[in-house]
Assembly symmetry: C3
Homo-oligomer: 280 residues x 3
C-alpha cells in the first residue's frame, strides 16, 4: 500500500507545527509577521492519489497561524497561483482587511493587518467566488489566538477535517484529517499516559454539510470556537458544519492504541481515521 511522499508534506509534523510568525516589537507592542503564498500545486492526498490543489505555502491545510490575544498580526500574502485569491480570516478586523473585496491577482501581493481577537480556535480561507471552488481546492488553514493569560500546559495539536473531490464531480472521494487519508493510522499520534492533550479542531470539509470527530475509549471537554475558558460539553463525539471549530481537551489514563475518526462511517472508511498511541 505504501505511503505518500512525506518529504513534501508530513501530517505528523503539521500536527504540532504552529506558525507564530516573526515576532517584533513596534511602539511597545508585539507584532507578528507571517507570509502566506498561494500556489497551484499537485498534492498527494492518499498513497498514489494526487489532487491538483490551490494551496497556501504549498500545503493543504495551510500553515496553522498562531498569535496571542492583542498581538498585531501582519500577513503578507503573495499570489503565485493562476487565479485571483485572498485570505479571509475568521476574527475581528477592519472591513478592508477582510479578504472579501480586494482580490489579489496572480503575481500580486496584499498585506492583511489586524489585532488578534478574540482568543479562540479560528480559521482562514480564500474568499474569491466561486467560493466552493476556492475552498475545495485547499485554500484554508487554522488560526489560533491564545488568551492573554495563556492556556494550561498540554500536548497541543491541530486537526483540520477536509475532503478531496479527486474525480471532479462535486463529491469527495477522499476524506482526511490534516490532508492525507489514513495518515495517523499508518503513523499513530504518540501521546503520553496522563498527559493532557489539547486539539484545535476545525472543519473545512466542502460539499458535505457536516463532519464529525469521535475519540475511542475516552471523553473530551469541548469548548465551542475556543472563545470561553469553560467547556460546554463532555462527550466523545462532536459534529461541526463547515467553518465551525472548537477545542477538545482530554487525557488518556491507559496505554495502548486508541482510534479516532469521523463518526460518519463513509468518511472514516475513505480516510478520516487515525490512532493515538498512548505510552507511559
Amino acid at each position: 500500500q505504501g505511503d505518500v511522499d512525506l518529504s513534501k508534506f508530513d501530517p505528523s509534523k503539521f500536527l504540532r507545527d504552529f506558525y507564530w510568525g516573526e515576532e517584533r516589537q513596534e511602539g511597545g507592542r508585539t507584532v507578528r509577521e507571517y507570509e502566506l503564498v498561494a500556489e497551484d500545486v499537485e498534492i498527494e492526498v492518499a498513497p498514489g492519489v494526487f489532487y491538483p490543489a490551490w494551496a497556501y505555502n504549498g500545503q493543504v491545510p495551510g500553515p496553522t497561524l498562531r498569535a496571542r490575544e492583542g498581538d498585531r498580526v501582519r500577513v503578507t500574502f503573495k499570489n503565485r497561483g493562476a487565479h485571483p485569491h485572498t485570505i479571509h480570516f475568521h476574527g475581528i478586523h477592519d472591513a478592508n482587511m477582510d479578504g472579501t473585496f480586494e482580490l489579489v491577482g496572480p503575481g500580486q501581493e496584499f498585506v492583511y493587518e489586524f489585532d488578534a481577537e478574540p482568543f479562540g480556535c479560528h480559521l482562514y480561507h480564500c474568499h474569491v467566488p466561486p467560493l466552493r471552488k476556492h475552498v475545495e481546492k485547499g485554500l484554508y488553514g487554522a488560526f489560533i489566538v491564545d488568551p492573554k493569560e495563556g492556556r494550561s500546559e498540554a500536548d497541543e495539536m491541530v486537526m483540520v477535517m477536509n475532503g478531496f473531490d479527486t474525480n471532479f464531480d462535486t463529491e469527495n472521494e477522499v476524506y482526511t484529517v490534516n490532508g492525507v487519508a489514513f495518515h495517523y493510522q499508518r503513523h499513530p499520534i504518540q501521546i503520553k499516559k496522563g498527559q493532557p492533550v489539547r486539539v484545535y479542531l476545525v472543519n473545512m470539509t466542502e460539499f458535505d454539510l457536516i463532519n464529525s470527530m469521535h475519540i475511542h475509549a475516552n471523553f473530551f471537554d469541548y469548548y465551542p470556537t475556543g472563545t470561553k475558558l469553560e467547556p460546554t460539553e463532555y462527550t466523545d463525539t462532536k459534529m461541526l458544519a463547515q467553518g465551525e471549530r472548537g477545542i477538545m481537551e482530554f487525557t488518556y489514563g491507559r496505554t495502548g492504541n486508541f482510534m479516532f475518526h469521523a463518526h460518519v462511517n463513509e468518511f472514516a472508511e475513505l480516510g478520516w481515521l487515525g490512532f493515538f498511541e498512548v505510552e507511559e
Copy 2:
C-alpha cells in the same frame, strides 16, 4: 440583473417588521389578536425567478408574530388557498391548539388561542401532510416571545433561512434569508457602529439537512432557542437543522460593509448572502 418587485414584498421592511397583533385587555390581561391568511400566490424569489408558493398573508416567510411572555395569543387563521392547511406553533399550548389534528379546509377558518410561552425565538408552520410539501411551499414564519422583563435595547431583526425548489425536483435551486436571493447584497442592512444588534435566526430550509449563518469580521453571542438569558456560545458561525433557531447578539465597532451568509458555500452562491453596512 435588476431586482425583484419590491412593491409586493420587500425583505428590507420584513427584516424589522414585528407583528404584535391587535392589543386588547380582557379580564385584566393582555390579549393579542392576529390574522393569518393562507393563499396560493406566485412570489419572486430572485429577479425574474418566480415560485408558486403557498403563503401566510401572501409572503414567504410569513409575518413575524411577536408577543410578550404570558400574553394571550389569538390567531384567526383563514384558509383562502386550494388545499387544507393549519398553523402549528412551536410553543406550549393545548393539544387542540396544536395545528396538527383539525385541518382547515379551503374557505374555512380556525382560531388558535394560547398563552405565549416560553419566552424565546420560535416559529410556526403548516402541519398538513405531506409535511415536506406544505413546508417547502412557504407556509412558515418566526414567532417571538419576549421575556416578561424584556431584553436589552438593540436594533432587532429577524432572519429566516430557507430555500426554493424552483424546478420541482425536491432540491433547492435558490437559497435565501427572508425570501429573496441576494436581497441584502443589493440592499445592505444599515446598522450603526457601536449599536447592539439582535438577530432572531430561524431555519426553515426544506430538503437540506442543515443550514448555517456566518458573519464577517465579528462574533456574536448565541442563545439557542432564545429561552435563556445567558448565551452559550461566542462564535461567528452557527449551524441549525430545520426547526432549530436562536438569538444572535453582536455590535460592530467599525464602519464599512461586512458580509454575512451561509457557511455552506453552495447555499451562499445560490442566494443566501448579504451585507451589513455599518455607519457612524
Copy 3:
C-alpha cells in the same frame, strides 16, 4: 394497514426496558453481567416490510444496557452470525476492551469488561469494517450509565433514531425511532400529566448526516451526552449526528395527544413519527 408482528419485537416494551444485567458482588463491588448475541435475523421494520438485519439479541435496536457509575460491567458477547463482529462501547475503558481490534468470528465468544464511566447516555455498536455495513445492518443499542447519586424520579424511556435501507441502495427508505416505522403512532406512548419524563435519545442513523427530535406543544431540558447534571438548552427541537446522544427531560401539563418526530420532514413521513398520549 395492520401492524408488525409485535410478538417478535414490541417497541412499546423496548421503550422502558432497561437491561441491568445479572448483579453480583465481587470483592466488595457490584459486577453486572450481560449477554449479547449477534445473530442474522429478518426483522419487520414496518407492517409487511422486512429487513435482513444483523442484530444483538435478535432485535434492532439491541437491548438498552444500563449500569451505575463505577459498577463493573462484564458483557459476554457471542457471535452466532455469519460474519465477524464486535461490540464497541462508547465509554472509558482499556484498549483491549474497545471492540476494535479483536474480531469475534462466527461461533466465537468474547468477554468485554470495564468500569461503567462516565455517567451519561451512551451507545454501543459493532466496529468491524466496513463500518457502514455493520452499523446499517442494525448492530447497535443504547448504553446508559447512571450517576452514583442517581437522577431525579421520572418516567424513563429510551429512543434510538435509525433508518433502514430496504432496497440496498445505500439510502434509507424507512426511518424509525426504536426500530418500527410509525409504531408510536399506532401505539401512543402513555404518560401522565404532571409526571416528569426522561428520554435517553441516541442517534444511530446511517447514510444521513443528521437526524433530529421535535416534541409538540412542549419544551425539554437537554443534557448533551448526559454527562453533566445541568442542562445546556431548553428547546423543542434538537439535531444529532450519528454517535451523538443526550437526555431530554420534560413534563406535559395538559392531557391529550402530542406528536413527536424528526423535524426532517422526509424522515417523519417515512416512519420517524409518534405520539405521547397524556392522561390524568
